[in-house]
């Protein structure tokens, strides 16, 4: 029930810039995921919205009202802290009941008991009511922290890596649960995570943060298929996207890209070629994801020769690293793939899904059929 607008937020810690003139508009009832490397300013951003850290410049608005001088308690925000921040001298029950016992959000004890029962059952910690935080494991502490956050009905949920210390199974369950809660509570959520799969599965939109600035803001598919620069492209996807140098040439009236020092150039899709020609690019970086690389142990005409550098089975798939003239190409192979190190292997790139970046600025130029990913989602967002 709240729209959050940040205008030109700058936050300094001494001489360190944590947030650098940052603008962000979070829609009402939106699930926004903040994603980025450590030290990008994600936690600072959450704390600025919560009102426990104060920006040196800029405005924090909730529902159009300027909140810079409003005490945290009056912002009606519920937050999960990255380090849990439980009250060590209180039991689990009292920790979770704490928001409903404050003067501002006062509820009667019967209601509190029912609510604590509800969230502890959901978090599967209803057998731990009497324990102190020091008697809990990290995963249990984290669930108490989430419980304390979810027990209220606030305007905004802020969650700072709430699932980081849960085991994989519970994390999967909680992910679904959080999504469910958020849609049924009608509250705006800003969620910080390091896990790109978590980000993509939960988010209405993702904001990628780096060095205190937003690199890109968009839907999961936009992030994955049309990243605005190489930094964003590398953040999403497992294995990491392959990015290699390419030289644009023309052959038989068609635009081709020459890479890996191969005599045979790779074909550029016509719609991408048009943009590249228009921009008069000669040197580009080509990004291609691991699942768009096919491989064969037999020599096939037109396929690029390389040798197996590493072969890592990770359960449902195998990540194969192929050495092509000194460049490593990561590809996804079926899970029963067996390969010897240094064994010759032939690869072929699906150029339909190639993403072209500027060789100097490392920024996005074009990909084939981009509207399919951006257009559809723009429409979907409008329909919401």
């Amino acid at each position: 029930m709240a729209r959050i607008t940040l205008e030109g937020i700058t936050k300094l810690y001494g001489k360190m810039t944590a947030l650098d003139n940052l603008d962000l508009d979070v829609q009402d009832n939106e699930f926004l995921v903040l994603f980025g490397p450590a030290g990008a300013g994600k936690t600072t951003l959450l704390k600025t919205i919560a009102g426990v850290e104060f920006p040196q410049k800029g405005l924090v608005k909730i529902d159009g009202e300027i909140m810079n001088h409003v005490e945290p308690m009056y912002r009606n925000i519920s937050m999960v802290f990255e380090n849990y921040a439980l009250y060590p001298h209180m039991s689990v029950y009292d920790n979770i009941a704490s928001p409903m016992r404050s003067k501002l959000y006062k509820k009667d004890e019967a209601y509190i008991r029912a609510q604590v029962e509800r969230v502890t059952q959901m978090m599967r910690i209803d057998n731990l009511w009497e324990r102190r935080p020091s008697q809990l494991s990290n995963g249990q502490r984290q669930r108490v922290a989430i419980g304390r956050c979810l027990v209220r009905d606030p305007n905004v949920f802020l969650m700072d890596e709430p699932l980081a210390h849960l085991d994989a199974k519970l994390r999967h369950f909680m992910r679904g649960e959080l999504k469910e809660i958020q849609s049924s509570f009608n509250s705006t959520t800003i969620y910080v995570t390091h896990d790109y799969m978590e980000a993509m599965s939960l988010a209405d939109r993702i904001a990628v943060l780096n060095k205190g600035k937003i690199e890109q803001l968009g839907t999961s598919l936009e992030m994955y298929y049309t990243p605005c620069n190489e930094f964003v492209a590398r953040l999403f996807g497992e294995p990491e996207i392959n990015i290699f140098d390419g030289e644009l040439t023309e052959q038989d009236g068609k635009m081709m890209v020459r890479a890996f020092g191969q005599p045979e150039p790779l074909c550029v899709e016509p719609d991408a070629a048009a943009v590249l020609t228009k921009g008069q690019h000669r040197q580009v970086h080509v990004g291609i994801r691991g699942n768009d690389v096919s491989f064969s142990f037999d020599k096939l005409p037109g396929w690029i020769q390389g040798s197996v550098y590493a072969n890592e089975p990770i359960g449902n798939k195998v990540i194969m690293v192929v050495d092509v003239g000194g460049t490593h190409v990561l590809l996804v192979a079926p899970n029963d793939t067996q390969a010897e190190i240094d064994q010759p292997v032939y690869i072929s790139l699906n150029m339909k899904n190639a993403i072209y970046f500027d060789a100097d600025g490392e920024t996005y130029i074009v990909r084939s059929d981009a509207e399919r990913y951006t257009g559809k989602l723009a429409a979907a967002m409008e329909g919401r």
Partner: protein
């Protein structure tokens, strides 16, 4: 044949196991005996002066220099001190001065400790060190200027004058101990409480004070003991109006003779409040209350 041999072997093994268990039991018994004996010897060593003081308080002056435990107990000393002099007045005045000093230390010291732990301001460490440095100088060194100043501004021989000057010995310790406790509390705990809807005032008393309580109690108790036992300051800065126990005890040293029995009585009673305070407060002295608040 083979099976019986293995059974035998097993039996042997189990008997060996029982033996080692027996040995272990014997060892632990021996260990605990040794530990207790050691502690008893230490306790005897540590408590002997106290015991000797109590014995002295029941001795007549003539028997004072006997080093054997055989003597005729007498209550004359108690009578002389408690009824013959205004010992009780000194006792209560000491209580007022020491209690007041501790109260002022807590009221002013806890916010100071919080500020030094949480806020960043220029020369913060210098201020903290300055506070600690008040304890460096021996009292006797500063006493003369303080005496002159107190005479001028009319604080000589007043309750407030003594309470104020006692801050020199009680405040630095409390600030440094409690500051450490505040630093151990993650700032996120405070922020979480604010988001839960508590005013800063409530956060401080509901969340922070319970967490620093062990440190506060321990340093408060020490402050009380320092103030209670202080000798130099009341010796110079108090006159007829206010007398503390430490000064009053001097009175039993007459020009011709020292009444050791009466000094012993004064000391025995002077120690009582400290012992009582320690026993009452002991259960609050639990360390590590703030564990578990944040990710380990």
């Amino acid at each position: 044949m083979a099976s019986t041999s293995t059974i035998k072997k097993e039996r042997k093994d189990t008997s060996a196991l029982v033996d080692t268990q027996k040995n272990k039991k014997a060892m632990t018994a021996l260990e605990s005996f040794g530990r207790n004996a050691g502690l008893c010897i230490y306790a005897l060593f540590a408590l002997f002066p106290l015991l000797w003081m109590i014995l002295c308080s029941f001795k007549a002056d003539a028997q004072m220099y006997n080093t054997v435990f055989r003597f005729t107990p007498t209550l004359d000393n108690y009578e002389a001190v408690l009824l013959g002099t205004d010992y009780f007045r000194a006792f209560f005045q000491n209580l007022i001065v020491s209690g007041g000093a501790v109260l002022l230390t807590v009221v002013a010291g806890v916010p100071a400790a919080y500020a030094l732990a949480r806020y960043n301001f220029k020369k913060k460490e210098d201020v903290a060190f300055q506070i600690l440095s008040f304890k460096f100088a021996p009292e006797i060194m500063v006493i003369l200027p303080v005496f002159l100043i107190f005479q001028k501004i009319g604080l000589y021989d007043t309750y407030f004058g003594l309470i104020w000057v006692y801050q020199l010995i009680t405040m630095p310790l409390l600030i440094w101990v409690v500051r450490g406790y505040f630093e151990d509390i993650s700032v996120e705990v405070e922020q979480a409480a604010q988001l839960d809807g508590y005013k800063w005032f409530n956060v401080f008393f509901k969340i922070l004070i319970p967490l620093v309580k062990p440190g506060l109690v321990a340093s408060g108790l020490l402050a009380f003991i320092f103030a209670w036992n202080s000798f130099t300051f009341p010796l110079v800065l108090s006159g007829f109006n206010i007398q503390t126990i430490t000064i009053t005890s001097l009175r039993y040293i007459a020009s011709d003779t020292v009444h050791y029995g009466q000094v012993a009585v004064a000391s025995v009673i002077a120690v009582l409040p400290e012992i009582i305070a320690c026993l009452f407060i002991q259960k609050h002295l639990v360390r590590g209350l703030s564990f578990g608040a944040v990710k380990g």
